[in-house]
Symmetry: D2
Subunit: 352 residues, 4 copies
């Protein structure tokens, strides 16, 4: 059994991976760590786990928090993972980090990311960055191998955009400066942290765009598209919140270099994802939406072309807490331990 520690266990990202690990046939949760609710069973904080996971939450300083495990999920904000990842590696663990700390592979790339979002550009463990890989299995599964020690799990908006644009980027179908990502997220994407913006009465009928000056996920989108396309891609990105709990719907627009039919575009996408179980490519008439991926690791990608102006339009649906977070993280764990990518992830959710 793979021994697992979850740091940041009491947040949505933490319980997301706990829920998944409880179903995983070859993994076992041995340690839960968080800053809040220390000393309490996780099932006291999240009563739906009662009887399934009643382990006590430890402080990062507790001796129990330091016992060796095989893998650590850092369900923590920026600048937490970079401080403890080195020690975890020394204790023999692999690290899967949810934040921006390990999504870039050099100190300079990290600095650029941090500067764009107005944060400290100096990474605390620059020597670890070359060890890391961006945790998008659909694009990097050959690099997410048992030899790998660190994975930078993708941002939720980012993965929805990247998967939606990757096949067209790789085929150089669009103009690199024409990409627009219009992204709507459910509220769980902001985590369990209280905010007047997410107070039920202020939100139940509220749609709004935010961070128009720039969102932290743009850098990784542009990096991945550049890797695929070969040219610099500049993305206009609009983050929006709407009153659903789970789900991201990203509408992705780009001007086609030359005319392509919807049928051909669907084919390009299907070919690109032919080995990716968790991606479903659909034509523009498919009656799907965010609820059809809720609770699962799937991405539904609807492909269309506006022929009048020769523009492609992709609608990409994910569950922000699954493919956008814990689901991808578990998929990455499977690859890190040589297991089939889908282990513990292939179940239907419930509807409605």
């Amino acid at each position: 059994m793979i021994k697992v520690k979850v740091v940041g266990a009491s947040g949505y990202g933490g319980i997301g991976i706990i829920e998944l690990l409880l179903r995983h046939p070859q993994a076992e949760i041995t340690t839960l760590v968080a800053l809040e609710s220390v000393g309490k069973p996780i099932s006291e904080i999240w009563p739906h786990l009662t009887g399934f996971c009643d382990k006590v939450v430890h402080s990062p300083e507790d001796a129990e928090a330091l016992e060796p495990v095989d893998v650590v999920f850092m369900a923590t904000p920026d600048r937490v993972g970079m401080k403890s990842a080195g020690a975890e590696l020394e204790r023999g663990a692999k690290v899967i980090d949810y934040s921006g700390d390990f999504r870039f592979n050099s100190a300079s790339e990290y600095a650029e990311y941090a500067q764009r979002i107005g944060k400290n550009p100096v990474h605390d463990s620059p020597e670890l960055l070359p060890l890391s890989v961006y945790g998008a299995p659909e694009l990097h599964r050959r690099e997410i191998t048992p030899e790998r020690r660190i994975v930078g799990n993708p941002g939720c908006f980012a993965i929805s955009c990247i998967l939606g644009l990757a096949p067209a980027a790789a085929a150089k179908l669009f103009r690199p400066d024409s990409v627009i990502c219009d992204c709507k997220s459910g509220i769980s994407g902001a985590g369990k942290k209280l905010s007047s913006s997410f107070h039920y009465p202020n939100r139940y009928e509220m749609m709004n765009a935010y961070k128009l000056a720039g969102h932290q996920h743009v850098c990784e989108i542009e990096r991945e598209l550049r890797l695929l396309n070969g040219e610099d891609v500049k993305v206009t990105f609009t983050a929006q919140v709407v009153p659903v709990c789970r789900g991201i719907m990203s509408c992705l627009y780009a001007d086609l270099v030359s005319p392509v039919s919807e049928e051909d575009l669907v084919s390009v996408y299907r070919e690109f994802y032919k080995d990716s179980v968790f991606v479903r490519v659909l034509p523009s008439t498919a009656p799907v939406g965010s609820m059809h991926v809720r609770g699962t690791n799937y991405t539904n990608i609807v492909v269309s072309v506006d022929r009048r102006v020769n523009r492609m339009r992709i609608v990409s649906y994910i569950d922000n807490l699954m493919k956008g977070q814990a689901g991808s993280a578990l998929q990455n764990m499977n690859l890190l331990f040589g297991l089939p990518e889908t282990t513990g992830l292939e179940h239907p959710s419930f509807f409605p």
Copy 2:
């Protein structure tokens, strides 16, 4: 493998049992039957099932619909199961019926039920009624055995009330004419049938009580309480709908025959349910709600006493589509086939 047919496959009750069966290690869906969407894969109707269950929906008249199976789930309204159950038994199947058709064990009991709700009092297959058992495993698990052929699955409101009152009824703690069941349901309880009352804009801010003249679930509540208590119990029942999708919260009131402390009442309840994995008994201070049982077969029962007036008050939480429908149905199937009650049902749901 237990071969399973689901009749009424395209409704919420149908997809609920399909979702559960897909995870069951010893059951296999062989046949889907419905009146709508005949000839289409079920995953075209409910896209979240894509890749998990792509079986075609058959009309009840199709030859495929008549092939022998081990068990049939009748996820159908009143008066459907009573017409086909006999033929299913002859073909060697067991029948688990979701409607009121097999919740009563004699033609006269059925007639009383039907009359109270203003329906045809003549059962079409009265000879089958003695073969049936009421599918509340917590109360009748000794009767839900491999010898049993038919189960009348409980009503969603009913099971929430019955489980909430059973221990006190059995211990004769309350006055039989003092019981009030104030029940709030999520909207999925009304199924997928369209209604202006459940049209999103008419409902998102709407709470209302309905059927004040009498609800179809009262009969089975009163019958079960009488079986436990020995005396006739008359229940004032108020059905309400609030804008959640899944969940029932039933507040149950009864005047105590003599004073009981909350602690003692909790003990009575815990003792009663000591063999019932899916019931959690909690004190009045437990911070739980309907979301903590969502997607699961659990019942959370919060016990309290209003000492000033010597009245007990129980708050019972279930997921109306799970413990209130498909979850109980699968639990019953397990018992009918000699499996552990919990097979295929012991997993945490997701939160939030």
Copy 3:
């Protein structure tokens, strides 16, 4: 024009009365006071007021906060109004207080209330209590006159229960120890204060009961019913929260002393409320719910009788922020200034 000061202007109770006053033909908002957002225009905090009310919020210590007005709405928690009401009276203002501070008319009554909810039983201005009246115009409009100086505005749950039970209490139709109030509130009832319980993702599918040990509104319900009935009435009260923003649905049960038909009970209620424009009495078949009073000062009261057990059941619907708070407050202001009760309150809301 009546000059108005709103204290606690930045909370839901504050903006509720601001919205109403903006439509009132004879009142004028002169001063806004709050502890938060001091120095900002109220329309910066609540952008929907832009162009309608752009007044700056003052601290209670600011000189502007002390300028004389005709009436002060104290949209503040317990123990705030009792501290400043005396000074407001001296400056010539009348006071309408939203909290429990002036709902009771003697120090001993207040002490009993405070003790039941575990708070300091000593009122800071006991000499003012005899000057106050309970602000339920339907029951006390003859006492809410231009001579009156202080009004204790009712609690939201309380007014829904009191209006639902008053006619039967006055007619001595029920047993005083048999009353059960099963009350469900929308989330705005808890105000704008952040809480993990009201964080959107934790709440959108959540129903729960809370404060089972006792709710602060029970005292005023029992007091009003005793005044009407002549006997001590003891109420079992269950507060519940469901995911709507606005609305209270209270199901009220009581054992009838002798049989009454629904028709007769409706007549008793209609007669009792014949001068009360804001109360609509409806038979048990009326298809109404909380959304039909949303945004208005109306109470919809649905009357029914469970004949089998000789029990009355009333379902009372209000908007917790209107009849349950700002609407009643404005109705009280009208009476305090000799205006028709309905001034500024008679408009339909919008639907859906």
Copy 4:
């Protein structure tokens, strides 16, 4: 008093205008017409109108439906207004039509519209088209005069996009083939007609894009932009539905012909709308959303520029049932009768 008839009175568009007219100081509802609920008081269908508007709904064939009025609101689908508008004009009424029937001013323009959306291209009353004006007061108020007889009220998505793009189009700031309208609507936009897509359980967690092949509102957007810009504008338009009741959030993108700062763009917009009370122009940091215009006739327009790629991005918020329907209709009525545009429309809504 202006005598008003509402045709399609029982739909959301009908009750929207009824609610507004009840507050209008110079208008009086004399006649309600609908195909459904004929013979019933409108307050029986929509109980929130009880006491405010209890008029009986007439069939279009009833004699009462034909009595002369001053203005008729046709809250009806395409091809209804075109059949009866002529007769209304002959009876002396003006006509404000909600559908696409009178949004175009020639038979050929109408035919193009109808063909693009796959409908019958032959208008039934082509002679009336030149009498009509597009009911966007912010752009056409000089044409919506007392001499005018017919107004084609704008589509809800359309008006949100047109108002969001008009100032930039008029100033020729963007490339005409670069416009993208990414529009999200609340569910009330689809009216009261039942649909499985808007059944509460299927929708509460569902976001989805639809009609990717083309939406009926694109024609009027392109027409208005061409009128302002002088050149043909081609729009890529994505309609999306999210689980709110009321509100449209449109993100509008276009490539700037030459660099413009956000400050300058805000100035262009403010100058353009300096006489338009119902438009608020805001910088990119304004913390506003759809709830801040809910229940009102306002449009909140947030202006931003993505300097890296020289692209403008406008976020336009309206209430689809107000500015997107009944609010604009009343604003148009005011202009048709020489009243101030704002009569009956200047009130704040409620929040939350």
